[in-house]
Amino acid sequence: MLAMPKLVRPLGTLLALLAIITGIILSAPPSLASTTSPEPTSGATSAPAEPSRYKISGVLRNTDGPVAGVRITATGEGFSGEATTGENGTWSIGVPAQGTYQVEVDVSTLPEGVNLAKGTPNPREVTFTNTSNAAAVFPLGEGIVVQSASFGEIFVERLIAGLSFGLLLALASVGLSLIYGTTGLTNFAHGEMVTLGAVLMFGFSVAGFPIWLAMLLGVALGGAFGWIQDGWLWKPLRRRGTALIPMMIISIGLALAVRYTILFNFGGATQQLPGASSPILELGTISISRNTLISLVVSLVVIVMIALLLLKTRLGKATRAVADNPALAAASGIDVDRVIRIVWTVGGVLAALGGILWAYYRPGVTFNMGQQILLLVFAGVILGGLGTVFGALVGSVLVGLFVELSTLWLVADLKYVGALLIMIVVLLFRPQGILGRRERVG
């Protein structure tokens, strides 16, 4: 069943997407183009009979698929024509002559919740001279409200979205940091553990399980994946005395293998989880998507639970001891391998949950969604201090806030750049991170 993609409006994804152009622009010089053209050159004289010798065309797409039923008009050179995007989002307007045309998207025909990306000229000019085909791009974004909300309101909305994004990053980075702290491994396959959670939940919900059960199963199997990884791969490697850099490269190999295995089974398309289109809640003058709020609360609760686990229980104490000094922990009677196994399992659970929340936040499930945030997770971990759990938490929240707030000043497709630059700058001045200790830097 091909349902019209309903769009959630998570405040986070300011620019969710774009329009891709398929108009083939012949870059060959005009003389060459006319000689190689299979069309009879005499056709030009009888042009009035076929007005669509020259075309302006494009595809209107959103993050999760083509946008159909949108009216687009082109005027210029004494001509005006219109087209409606088809089921696959394509549109094409035949025009009588080459030249400059004003192409306009009828904003009122866009589906609810979809708007043109900020700063997109509409109408825009399209000029073509040497080609028979011209293309026009209209980037689409979600929740880009044309209305003039005050700066303060937008700021608060971004702030909440950033907090929600930061906390879901924290779920992944706490696991990464725990694994680093106890085993010393920088795990490049953590992104795939994130993807796996979302993909598994999608699989279970397609199989007919209710949302809560699908989510639970996805998270549980994510934990199982962590358990198996440690049991079948990392523990034997530790036994062999494999050094840390080879282990890091092995984790890269694992990441490639798992990513392409997911692609192999799941396909390259973006799929939506059930309930991905959530209502927008109006809190006073601020509007927030319900999913963003739920995600915020869920990750907050889980993180507080993990923090309590680490601080209050025997197991938490043992984990911190292993992270501090494995040899000493072993000497004091702590079963280091058991602790590490639990850390991998908990890391898998947290990553899978983070992946599910990330799928609601983007929104959509794809095979490389984990890879997309892996570097932000690293940035959070480094910002907070490698190997410190609470540092990872603080760092991730800062990265999430920074990513979302930077869109107030920065173009949206550069929002990750800011976070990565901050990471590099922090390394320059305080390499141990915010909560890290100096000797860890080496």
Binding site: L254, A257, I382, V411
Partner: protein, 326 residues
């Protein structure tokens, strides 16, 4: 199934310009990691700088070929300096994360819609290779080499690419035998020992980063010239990881290892693709689509990288004593 054609294609990969580009970029990684011990995960960024640094001035200001190359080289040196200053004093895994982040920053910047006028955004740039092919001394025509034949453009890019690879291999070989190279190997083995001999370790590491990065930059140009187009999607982190696979396949602390590794990598990829596609078209394999067959090969790359690291970390040509890690 046309076995002859499949094998001819696979053998053709040995001398293809893409293989040369992979060999050159992996040679840069060998300088970084194999000889100096620097964990560079951003070689794709250096390659992107080579491609864009050459293509942008050529298209924007119509500069001659040599000037375009020089601009790319300068860009690459600046990039290496920017990367090295914050990270070369830190532990290896910090450099790994910072280089991978820097390569992604470059990719985001050339992809942003704001710079479409300059970088062509996601569609990339095209039609900048004219200056290179204008220098082609080979007369027009078709040249036959046993199983395969090519035109004068294909031959010219192959001659230039592989001459460059040979030249760089010779250069790396001579450099690594020189006192300079011995210091790099010393840094790999024990940084503090070299420091105690009064050498400026930071400076030597920086020189190694710049030199290996330049090899990556040249590789970026070789990679993009035969395509006549440069697109940001080609310079993702996966490119870096494939380069690492080539390096580890051949042997990380060897001069010819990266070249052999790149050849094996591409021959195996081409061979598996030819055989799988052939088997699917002939109806021997019915449970796979051709798209899935393409993805299956990359699953194998990942598994191969893991197995290589676990069972033969020194690669095909390497010497176990020269491993960066014990």
């Amino acid at each position: 199934m046309d076995f002859l054609n499949i094998f001819a294609n696979a053998l053709g990969e040995i001398v293809s310009p893409t293989t040369a580009a992979y060999a050159l970029a992996s040679l840069g990684l060998a300088v970084h990691f194999g000889f100096t011990g620097l964990l560079n995960f951003g070689q794709a960024g250096f390659m992107a700088i080579g491609a864009y640094g050459f293509a942008i001035p050529t298209l924007l200001w119509d500069v001659p070929f040599v000037v375009g190359v020089l601009i790319a080289v300068v860009g690459s040196v600046i990039f290496a300096l920017l990367l090295g200053i914050p990270t070369l004093r830190l532990r290896a895994d910090y450099l790994a994360i910072v280089t991978i982040a820097a390569a992604e920053i470059i990719r985001y910047v050339v992809t942003t819609n704001e710079l479409t006028e300059i970088t062509g955004s996601a569609n990339g740039l095209a039609a900048f290779e004219g200056g290179f092919y204008a220098m082609n001394p080979i007369p027009r025509g078709t040249y036959n080499f046993g199983l395969t034949s090519m035109n004068e453009r294909d031959l010219w890019i192959r001659v230039v690419a592989w001459s460059l690879v040979a030249l760089c291999c010779l250069l790396v070989f001579l450099l690594m035998r020189s006192p300079w190279g011995r210091i790099l190997k010393g840094i790999r083995e024990d940084e503090n020992a070299v420091r105690s001999l009064g050498k400026n370790v930071y400076s030597y590491k920086m020189q190694s980063l710049i030199f290996g990065g330049l090899l990556g930059t040249f590789a970026g140009m070789i990679f993009t010239l035969p395509r006549g187009a440069v697109q940001p999607a080609n310079y993702q982190t996966e490119l870096t990881f494939f380069l690492w696979t080539c390096l580890l396949l051949g042997g990380m602390a060897t001069v010819l290892g990266p070249v052999v590794g790149a050849m094996i990598f591409w021959v195996v990829l081409s061979l598996t693709q030819g055989l799988l596609y052939g088997a699917i078209e002939a109806g021997y394999i019915t449970f796979l689509t051709t798209t899935q067959a393409g993805q299956l090969r990359y699953i194998l790359v990942g598994v191969a990288l893991m197995l290589l690291m676990i069972f033969r970390p020194q690669g095909v040509l390497g010497n176990k004593k020269e491993l960066v890690f014990a």
